[in-house]
Symmetry: C2
Subunit: 224 residues, 2 copies
């Protein structure tokens, strides 16, 4: 009667703990810069310390947590320079993605892109701030999936939570803070077009604009 190795048990407690802890960080439930007490967090998530520690390692690798041996693990702090690095690196990655994927575009994938943009516009119209963040990231996922480059995709998947972190903090600060409705119009237009260089050049602008938007709230919040 058991499903046996039909479903080969892909879910470990460690993985679920990883997910839930990331959620807690991205929600802002755990405040940036604060120390994470293993016993306390383990109790809150109802897992053992060993399991929690395994989950935390991956978040430390990504950069959402910072681990100091024997000293403790801290939530990443908001920092202007870090944010700039995230964006400049992201720009480079996304340019790579478009270069790798440019010739792989077809009607199906372009229709997919169109859909992702429409979903983004929808969430913005609905005033669903969190949904808009997720929808924007999902829109940008497109080029990485298109590229068919697993290392590139992995790298983006590692970077994404950090972006999401800043987005969430931004959103938490002033609560009308998501992307603008027409912010991706040019992006989509060029992605559908046939001029790669123009697309790459636009990416710089697009990212710069995104950085400005996200960066703005850092002045008001943390003076350092």
């Amino acid at each position: 009667m058991k499903s046996q190795n039909q479903t080969p048990s892909t879910d470990t407690l460690k993985d679920r703990t990883h997910e839930r802890l990331q959620e807690l960080i991205l929600t802002g439930d755990l405040v940036p810069g604060s120390k994470l007490l293993e016993t306390q967090v383990a109790a809150r998530l109802d897992v053992s310390r060993a399991t929690l520690r395994e989950a935390m390692i991956r978040l430390s690798e990504i950069g959402l947590l910072v681990n100091l041996p024997f000293r403790g693990t801290y939530i990443r702090k908001l920092d202007r320079v870090d944010l700039q690095e995230i964006y400049s690196f992201r720009t480079g990655l996304e340019k790579m993605a478009f270069q790798f994927g440019w010739d792989k575009r077809d009607l199906i994938s372009l229709a997919d892109l169109q859909m992702r943009n429409e979903r983004l516009c929808q969430t913005i119209s609905d005033n669903d701030a969190f949904g808009a963040i997720m929808a924007e990231l999902h829109l940008h996922d497109w080029c990485y999936e298109l590229s068919g480059h697993s290392l590139l995709l992995q790298s983006w998947e590692r970077l994404k939570p950090n972006l999401q972190f800043y987005f969430a903090m931004h959103q938490k600060a002033h609560d009308r803070a998501g992307p603008l409705r027409e912010s991706h119009d040019e992006y989509i237009r060029l992605a559908k077009g046939d001029n790669l260089d123009e697309m790459l050049r636009h990416l710089e602008d697009h990212m710069q604009q995104g950085l400005q938007n996200t960066q703005s709230f850092l002045d008001t919040t943390s003076p350092g």
Copy 2:
């Protein structure tokens, strides 16, 4: 009398285990594709399973190990497509590094570059294959350090062990397999010059050549 928090205990057993295990993989002591039995490896390294597991997670994140939940952890396999991805991604990263660092070059850093190249030539002359691998990687470290971009550097540090892995396997296959003595002459010349575009274009060729060299042995070894 105790040094106290003068030296804030940066060394954990987990970290040393991580290093040693990576060493074992890169030496080819643990054969590609083979399964890693936790009890066995833990005994060999004289650490507990919990400690070993924490060390393995980081190696899995990098890609040197592949973890299947409840099934086990395996040494990465040699694969032609993977190697191509490593190289194409590396090309993109290194182009980024040169773009970020181009204006930061000065006499000191260029002298540093020169020294790294000389050391590489020296190890090649000495027929020190392993040393040559390390020296070549260290030469390429230069541009990432120059860029001053921590995310970019991190990304390179993650990719590097995988390259080293293929280099080591190559070297193990036919044992005269390191980089050629003059392979970096053009690279150095352009890095010292004032034409970024030319440098970037050369990078493509340089990497393509490196790929060809490293890739060659895959045919003879593993047919798949």
